[in-house]
């Protein structure tokens, strides 16, 4: 059952006319987006449509050329933005998991709460077992990443982000490197988070998942938001590009 999102909740992520080029290649061509607290937004589109870049701009992993990005009232495009504060508000999960291979699962999760938030070891360990239980991996705390399957590694990566108690979670094609049977276990974790009211921006190719989980679906094409709306935009696409996309990616 999907939870009800207050359509008047405050906007926690806002993009206004965002432009970004890599050399001569225009990747974002005036992107506008608004994500409200508690809302799940999925960004869909072909490879190269700019969806991952948009997500990376929100987390300041890429700098925008022009336009405004606001996260929890903080201007990300401001050259003097407090990056640490921004990263405390945002959690991000990557396609390639990016767990720290030299640390156990538990240490991966404890690292940032201890180093960035000054939590003591005991409380960080409690926190780690709590978030690990929430992704169904309570028994893996002493394993090293290389001993886990891709799906398990990705769930640990989600747990590692959750342990920082972010306001907003970003997911960048988190199941694209996974076999179909491992994809399911990761998507279930994200759906549980959605049900719990976490604000999320999800870049994905999993259309069925997008239909189930989204309050807002954003279809990107040629570096722009081509269509947006509720899950119904997939049933009634207005543009030929989205029609074609839905047909080719059911």
């Amino acid at each position: 059952m999907k939870h009800v999102v207050n359509q008047n909740a405050e906007a926690v992520v806002v993009l206004r006319n965002v432009h970004k080029s890599f050399g001569p290649h225009k990747v974002l061509d005036g992107v506008n987006l608004k994500v409200r607290r508690g809302q799940v937004t999925t960004i869909i589109g072909r490879s190269g449509s700019g969806k991952s870049t948009a997500l990376r701009c929100i987390d300041h992993l890429e700098k925008v050329d022009s336009g405004e990005i606001e996260v929890c009232g903080r201007r990300v495009d401001d050259p003097n933005v407090d990056l640490k504060a921004l990263r405390l508000d945002l959690g991000i999960v990557f396609q390639s998991y990016n767990l720290f291979p030299h640390l156990t699962v538990e240490e991966n999760i404890m690292l940032a709460p201890c180093a960035a938030k000054g939590l003591d070891k005991t409380r960080a360990r409690d926190l780690a077992s709590e978030v690990l239980a929430s992704v169904g991996l309570a028994d893996k705390s002493n394993a090293y990443p290389e001993q886990l399957s891709g799906g398990q590694q990705q769930r640990v990566a989600i747990a590692r982000s959750l342990a920082m108690q972010p306001q907003v979670m970003l997911f960048d094609e988190v199941t694209s490197a996974l076999d179909p049977e491992l994809t399911g276990e990761v998507l279930r974790v994200i759906e549980e988070l959605a049900a719990g009211g976490m604000t999320m921006v999800i870049v994905t190719h999993e259309m069925a998942f997008a239909r189930r989980v989204s309050d807002q679906i954003v279809f990107m094409h040629s570096g722009r938001v081509w269509e947006e709306g509720g899950a119904d935009i997939l049933e009634n696409p207005q543009t030929s590009e989205l029609k074609q996309f839905v047909r080719s990616a059911p």
Partner: protein, 225 residues
């Protein structure tokens, strides 16, 4: 025969061998400490720092160690700075090792995958925390086999210190040969002693290399194989 090789000669050689080990350790520890500074300066965000350290590395790597030794031992006294053979050897070798290890380690730090930096950054770690907690521990694993391998180079290069009168293994051999005059025998013994120091380290480095590639193979995600 003027004087056949006897046990006191062998003891003398062993004494020299101890100095070779000692000098190698000084060069490794000193060069390692400065090498870490070189490696970090080479990836500094400040351009001037990068350029200066790169020039230092180029200068040392483009100069024979023997000439660096001559500069410190004969050159510095000419400028009014008297320097003992041990000091000259230690300083020269440290400068030499720092340049090479610094470059090896820079490569290792940079070879830690870019996404690791990003993941650490997105977890709100400061630059120093990222380096200390995430990047360096992984870089050290990558760096261990080539660093151990380079120790062999250090040990062999300490033999150059003999030319400034440092009484290490090679110099002890020269002195003994001057009295017993059996160059082939004496230098063969010396070669054997160097080999017995270097070979185990070389094998150790190879074993570390093999272990590492085994780990790398294991950690490739199944979807990419």
């Amino acid at each position: 025969m003027i004087g056949a090789l006897n046990s006191s000669h062998i003891l003398y050689l062993l004494h020299g061998a101890l100095w070779t080990i000692g000098l190698s350790l000084i060069a490794f520890l000193g060069g390692g400490a400065f090498g870490l500074v070189v490696a970090l300066c080479r990836i500094s965000p400040i351009r001037l720092v990068r350029v200066l350290t790169a020039s230092y590395v180029q200068l040392i790597q483009g100069t024979p160690l023997l000439v660096i030794l001559f500069m410190t031992f004969f050159g510095l006294p000419a400028l009014g700075l008297n320097i003992a053979p041990l000091t000259a050897a230690a300083v020269s070798l440290t400068a030499f090792v720092a340049a090479y290890l610094g470059e090896i380690w820079r490569g290792c730090i940079e070879s830690v995958a870019r996404p690791q930096w990003e993941a650490a950054e997105c977890l709100a770690l400061t630059k120093i925390q990222r380096m200390r907690l995430v990047i360096l521990p992984q870089a050290i694993r990558i760096a261990t086999p080539p660093t151990v391998g380079f120790m062999v180079q250090i040990i062999k290069n300490t033999s150059l210190a003999s030319v400034v009168g440092m009484l290490e293994l090679t110099r002890s051999g020269q002195i003994i040969n001057n009295s017993v005059f059996e160059p082939f025998l004496v230098y063969s013994i010396i070669a054997a002693v160097y080999f017995s120091m270097c070979y185990p380290i070389s094998r150790w480095s190879q074993r570390l290399e093999r272990q590492r590639s085994a780990v790398v193979l294991q950690s490739v995600p199944s979807s990419l194989t």
